[in-house]
């Protein structure tokens, strides 16, 4: 079983409803790295993540995982390589929190220590109390944490989450990023779409900045998050204060 996932995208393009939503994206995601995909609304963050996760087929270019073209990997094997949390994932039935988390183990078939894994995953998102509660009775943020536990419960070496911090309160946002940071440090490849540039700057190794479906910049947060670049892409004036490699992001105004 592969324990790491080295992901490479070459000249990735995607057409949806006749519109080019991704254009000529070349980038890489390495084991041990926590990467944030950032950009304004409609920049193509979700599309890129869905193509990476194999939910959408690219119209051009290639995604390869461990140098094997992603499309040639059988679906069941790919599911064991890559776990994906979409931006919105409303459960259709009011299963319990623990049962929802256990769905993340489906790619592995029968798992002997299933209950133990589910419990650990829920603990990682501070969600022990949700195990027996019907998921339709949870608040938006509580449901999001259960879904994150679903993402974390498996053994996939590649984790992709689309705006995992949306709907979370500030404490759980920090806690989640710390958890994901730890997961990346253990050798997994973690890719997140984030809106919060402070979180991206503080916790992520690398940042991909998308604009209009194109890759505007990539590199360390310090390289990418310059007032000039943020001003051009987002239309805001801002300042990053760096302290021991960690950053805080201050927005001053609209330009």
């Amino acid at each position: 079983m592969t324990l790491s996932a080295d992901v490479t995208c070459r000249e990735l393009g995607l057409l949806r409803h006749g519109q080019r939503v991704l254009d000529d994206i070349t980038c890489a995601f390495r084991p041990g790295e926590l990467t944030a995909v950032v950009g304004p609304n409609g920049a193509g963050k979700s599309s890129l993540l869905q193509v990476l996760a194999g939910v959408l087929d690219a119209s051009g270019g290639t995604v390869s995982i461990n140098e094997q073209p992603s499309q040639s990997i059988p679906a069941a094997e790919r599911a064991r390589l890559c776990a994906f949390l979409p931006q919105s994932e409303l459960p259709s039935w009011s299963v319990s929190g623990a049962d929802l988390v256990a769905l993340g183990l489906l790619p592995w078939g029968r798992v002997p220590d299933r209950d133990e894994r589910v419990r650990t995953a829920l603990e990682r998102v501070d969600g022990k109390d949700f195990a027996q509660r019907p998921v339709t009775q949870l608040s938006g943020g509580e449901l999001r944490r259960v879904q994150l536990a679903r993402l974390l419960v498996g053994q996939a070496p590649l984790l992709i989450a689309d705006e995992p911090t949306a709907a979370l309160d500030i404490r759980h946002q920090l806690q989640l990023l710390q958890t994901l940071r730890g997961i990346a440090d253990s050798g997994k490849t973690v890719v997140l779409a984030l809106h919060d540039l402070s979180l991206a700057a503080r916790y992520c190794d690398r940042v991909l900045l998308l604009e209009g479906g194109r890759l505007r910049a990539q590199g360390t947060p310090r390289d990418v998050f310059t007032p000039a670049m943020i001003g051009e892409v987002y239309g805001v004036s801002c300042e990053f204060r760096w302290r021991d490699g960690e950053a805080e992001f201050v927005v001053f105004d609209l330009i």
């Binding site: 869905q50 996760a53 194999g54 939910v55 679906a75 069941a76 790919r78 599911a79 064991r80 890559c82 776990a83 994906f84 949390l85 979409p86 994932e89 409303l90 459960p91 259709s92 039935w93 009011s94 299963v95 319990s96 049962d99 929802l100 769905l103 993340g104 489906l106 790619p107 019907p134 339709t136 679903r150």
Partner: protein, 331 residues
């Protein structure tokens, strides 16, 4: 709470053999049950013939058809992620019904023997295939529902046309009665014809159980969990068509079992769409068998059709759904 659910399911399973005995004791003629049982199914004695050749196959058919409809409904709801979905929604029942009506139209129904059920199964397959082709590759649930509604409307129009131009009052009456659904005058032939198709359909649905589970989280997540590609929905559609088509073929259109039953048992399986399949099969079998016991014990000038009985169960159920939704309950 979990244990209570298991007890409830156990009670339902235990009620089935009791209901079967009650069904064998029900009918317009009083028979010496113990004697008929002892004489065996080869006996020419009239009581034994009534028990072994009339009542037993009818009761078993009620169990089989009820199980197929309950399971089909559970599978449809899981596939479309919608608690209001029913096999009838995708035109499966209508497809089967139309094929049978064409035979009835030409007065060939009961002379045709095996053709009636076979054509009905074929009709269900064609209907479900049309829906699939109409919805296209990688269809979302909403597109599939829309395609089902369109196919269903078209088939209903054809059925209305068949009724409109029915060659005789007799043919029209036959069609109407058949559309009401009935288990009367069905024997071992019908049972044995439906059985392999319903079993095959059940196996396909059972094989799709983890796909149904993954679909709880939506189509994108299901794909990411390894259930990408057409074969998963196709296996589900074929399973539903085989089970429901065969059931409609031998019993006519019996509505609402596929809608009501999954709703009733969903809390007992902790909302798991996979375990819901067999629980709905069990509960559907029990419900249809009890409806048939009611029909058998109903005294009237005309035979009461079982489809009319299940419709009386279904309509109040919709009202109850509306009331519980307005009170803030989940639909």
């Amino acid at each position: 709470m979990f244990d209570n659910n298991k007890i409830a399911l156990g009670l339902l399973a235990g009620a089935l053999p009791l209901a079967l005995v009650a069904a064998l004791l029900s009918g317009p003629v009083n028979i010496d049950f113990a004697a008929a049982l002892q004489q065996g199914w080869r006996s020419e004695n009239s009581d034994a013939v009534i028990l072994w050749q009339l009542r037993l196959p009818r009761a078993l058919l009620a169990i089989l058809v009820g199980a197929a409809l309950g399971m089909g409904g559970a599978a449809m709801q899981g596939m479309l992620r919608n608690p209001l979905a029913e096999p009838a929604l995708l035109g499966v029942s209508s497809g089967a019904a139309l094929a049978a009506i064409l035979l009835l139209y030409y007065g060939l129904a009961w002379q045709s023997g095996w053709w009636l059920p076979l054509l009905a199964i074929g009709g269900a397959f064609i209907a479900v295939l049309s829906v699939w082709l109409l919805a296209g590759r990688g269809a979302s649930a909403s597109r599939l529902v829309l395609a089902g509604v369109a196919i269903n409307a078209f088939l209903s129009a054809l059925m209305a046309l068949a009724l409109n131009y029915a060659p005789s009052m007799f043919a029209m009456q036959e069609i109407v009665f058949w559309l009401l659904g009935s288990l009367a005058n069905r024997g071992w032939d019908q049972l044995l014809l439906a059985l392999p198709f319903i079993l095959a359909g059940g196996l396909l649905l059972f094989a799709s159980r983890n796909y149904l589970r993954a679909l709880t989280l939506g189509e994108a997540t299901a794909v990411s969990l390894g259930f990408g590609g057409r074969r998963y929905p196709l296996a589900l559609l074929l399973g539903i068509a085989a089970a429901v088509g065969a059931a409609v073929a031998v019993a006519g259109t019996i509505g609402f079992i596929g809608l009501v039953v999954p709703h009733l048992v969903r809390p007992l399986v902790r909302q798991d769409p996979a375990r819901l399949l067999w629980a709905s099969a069990l509960c559907g079998a029990l419900l249809l068998l009890m409806a048939d016991i009611f029909v058998l014990n109903f005294v009237g000038a005309q035979e009461l059709r079982i489809g009319a009985v299940t419709a009386f169960l279904g309509a109040p159920f919709f009202f109850w759904l509306i009331v519980s939704a307005r009170r803030g309950g989940a639909l």
